[in-house]
Amino acid sequence: MAVSTLTIDGREVSAHEEQTLLDVARENGINIPTLCHLDGVGDIGACRLCLVEIEGSPKLQAACVTKPVEGMVVHTDTERLRSYRRMIIEFLFAEGNHVCAVCVANGNCELQTMAINVGMDHERFDYLYPKRTVDITHQLFGLDHNRCIMCTRCVRVCDEIEGSHTLDLAGRGNKSHVITGMNQDWGDAESCTSCGKCVLSCPTGALFKKGSTVAEMKRDRTKLEFLVTAREKKQWRL
């Protein structure tokens, strides 16, 4: 496997051709923020948090979908990038109805953690207060659209790991939303196997186990990567 050497934040690191810049960075303890990335499912480069500066290129590139090239010089934590990341998180908080105080994921939420990491202490943009619904028709799980950030991790998990493709996105643009089955109540969606992988994958409190109350929704996100490694590489790494 071809190996290349590149520089990330002033450090020389090595990468092999199957890795992405994100893999290489994380391997070397450089933490590039992400939200739509989930170990075990394909990357889509949607949240734009992992954008990095590459010397010689005027465009920013998403680390999760960019392959390392020999001699690349990458900067992951400049002033500009920090400012953009903060705006992205502000956008997300303004877009939905995110109220941590009453949320099942309070304290265990990737969006919340990211807000702290990017230094968001107030919201500069207009809150949109969209009218969104909550679906608790499923026996075991609930889907609260108010907290959904359309990262599509649940959609990808349901399609790529479980295979039933019960979840998908409907609508377009700022009207996009997650649906189950033929836009049915989740409880009526025939293809759902109740496997709960979508709940495991959700970064916020949008998908949750029924019966959890504020701050009770804890997840073991490594379960999904474990499943993929078990299925594909026949290695059980608990």
């Binding site: 734009r48 960019t66 956008f91 949109l128 969209p130 009218k131 377009r172 643009g173 700022n174 009207k175």
Partner: protein, 555 residues
Amino acid sequence: MDLSELQAIADKEISSRKAIRVVCCQAAGCLSGEGKDLLAALKASAAKSGISADIQICGTGCMGLCSRGPLVRIEPSGEMFERVASADADKIIGALEGKPFDEKKSDTNQPFYTKQLKVVLANSGKIDPDRIEEYIAEDGYKALYQVLRESTPQQVIETITKSGLRGRGGAGYPTGLKWATVAKSSGKKYMICNGDEGDPGAFMDRSVLESDPHRVLEGMAIGAYAVGADQGFIYVRGEYPLAIKRLQTAIKQARFNGLLGTNIFDTNFNFRVDIRIGGGAFVCGEETALIASVEGKRGVPRPRPPYPAMSGLWGCPTLINNVETYASISTIIRKGSDWYSGIGTEKSKGTKVFTLAGKCENAGLIEVPMGTTLRTIVEEMGGGVPGGKVKAVQTGGPSGGCIPASLLDTPVDYDSLAKVGSIMGSGGMIVLDETDDCVDVARFFMEFCMDESCGKCVPCRVGTVQIYRLLSRIAEGQGTKKDLAKLRELCDMVKTTSLCGLGQSAPNPVISTLRYFEHEYTSRLIDKDSSNGSVPADLRNHQSTVLVKEASHGG
């Protein structure tokens, strides 16, 4: 089919032509309202006058000056009539018999016509788009023959590269280079013709598809040969039903004549073309979103690299070019790359078709050499603004910018337009006058981008909404200096961090109008007279009266 057979069709067509031909525009613009019945009325009139046997009356494609349509032209004299109604049919026929019909006579010497150089539009308005014979009579499919029988794919690519042709869809990427990249890959390849002309205020592609569909098919076939593809798709907007119909007819005719399908011109070259209809999504003009759409999915873009030339439709190397790009190919092959590169400027070769519309006197379709100035186009050809003044010219649609009247001497080419903060885009050119409000124009485009955003990436999905809200607030006189600063910051962020071209260029109209018409923004600010950034007490805590579509769930 071989060359002699092709020539025989051409000869037969030409010899069957009558001495006088009356052509009547049957493109969507002229067909609306009066134009529909005009062709039939003309035929009826001719029959009544007893001269049917001596003249030929047929429908053609777009003649260009749409705002004065329906248009009729007499050949070979070239006399033209405008705003013709069905009731005028007798008078038109009368003109052939020596009774002049001056009240509707069109000035064919006006700059709108004389300053054009028709390459892509050479046959538009001349031939009947529903008859392949007429296309063949205009040297149609000769270029394809030449390429298949006399050139290697590599030679074709070299010709196109030397010609300097750049993608006419808007990005202006060197076509020869794109073809070379696809040709280098191995395995199954596809080619796509991007007819998803989503820019509001642009209809060049629609016109070419309706008026001269075979030109596009021939260009595609030549491209397929050059890169090694055997399956092509033409992706046409669903909003263009006439173009779709004309294409379907053209494909059928080409196949029937052995000009599409297997062993074309008795060579090993096979090429099949299918139509895919768009569902009404501007974002599908973006290459990867278009590919997703052809694959039957939501039209959501993918990160590039990998570029479609390496991995596109169903993971295979895919060549994607715009309708106008393909329509330029056959002429370049026939007349040579030197001829083509002799037209235009140093870095922008050839001609470009523009949609000239808005407040100008003459609205319609024109094709001019690259390097023609905006002033020539807008004031001479477009006739300026009747009873008013040109304020700005908006080029490039929602990805472009407004060029103020003071810069009308800017030549139209990729680099010059970029330098003044706009882009060539697909060719839309909207003329704005003193009554147009630039902030409102920026808001119009942002609303468009907001609605058309696919929703995948956060900066575009949310950013366009936030920018739209700010623009609305400012437009309604409810904005502050802080809002304006926020607006600039948002534009920079959305432009820099969005995943695809839609988001990356959505802030362009705002950035461009801020550059040249900043006073239209600042003069409306509530605190425009305050130097310390404070907002007047009675206006503090103001509520925005803007109603924005809420992100609610509906069916």
